[in-house]
């Protein structure tokens, strides 16, 4: 089981901030493919991966990264701090 978190417009498009996901996905990209296939909201949020960033257990990562041992995955747009 993974905790999957969404922030900013990713959260708005999907319509929720957080959910638990039962998945056999081996990589972030596989998880994205699974989520995108759910419905139009997910498909819209993940339509352009280049516009997204991903963090695994609160560390920035990339879409090729394996999910083995990961407990928390977060998807969000490029950050705008400062």
């Amino acid at each position: 089981m993974l905790d999957v978190l969404y922030f900013a417009w990713v959260r708005e498009r999907i319509g929720l901030p957080k959910e638990r996901v039962e998945t056999g996905a081996a990589t972030v990209a596989e998880l994205v493919a699974e989520l995108s296939a759910r419905d139009a909201r997910y498909a819209a949020a993940f339509a352009d991966i280049s516009a997204l960033r991903v963090a695994l257990d609160q560390e920035l990562s990339d879409f090729d990264a394996p999910l083995a041992g990961v407990r928390e995955v977060a998807f969000f747009p490029p950050m705008t701090g400062g």
């Binding site: 978190l5 560390e59 977060a74 747009p77 490029p78 705008t80 400062g82």
Partner: protein
């Protein structure tokens, strides 16, 4: 090092005055303050979202990197989230060092990395509606000057 993520306003004067107080080995304090800017008079408010947990970790990592690169006596980072009006203070960084060069460089480094590596997202609300602030390519480019 002190990293604070909060929704409440902060007292810039008191924090700046208290930073490095009593450290007579520090010859230089540099501080930067970020303010909610209303470029064309249309901004009603800004809403800043963040990733609790990751935010504090990411900022601490950036501050540790600054301390490893430069001779710093201390680092302070305060960043707000939630609803902010034009003119309100969003964040501040302060650095102190025996000499000004390190304090200036470290403050700039912290700001460059906070912009695009700390998980905050800004949304601007105007009379026309709401829009997420997009990250600028320059913000990412700014990091390249620190890579070695």
């Amino acid at each position: 090092m002190r990293v604070v993520v909060q929704s409440e306003p902060f007292d810039l004067g008191a924090l700046t005055a208290g930073f490095a107080a009593g450290r007579s080995d520090m010859g230089a304090v540099v501080s930067f303050t970020g303010i909610v800017r209303d470029t064309d008079g249309r901004l009603d408010r800004m809403e800043i979202e963040h990733y609790p947990g990751m935010t504090e970790r990411a900022i601490a990592t950036i501050a540790e990197e600054a301390q490893a690169r430069w001779s710093l006596g201390d680092v302070l980072v305060i960043h707000r989230h939630g609803t902010l009006r034009p003119g309100e203070l969003i964040m501040m960084v302060a650095t102190c060092s025996p000499h000004r060069g390190d304090a200036f460089a470290a403050a700039e480094f912290l700001m460059d990395y906070l912009k695009s590596r700390a998980p905050f997202w800004k949304k601007e609300l105007t009379a026309d509606g709401a829009a997420w602030v997009a990250a600028k390519p320059e913000d990412e480019d700014a990091l390249s000057r620190w890579t070695r």
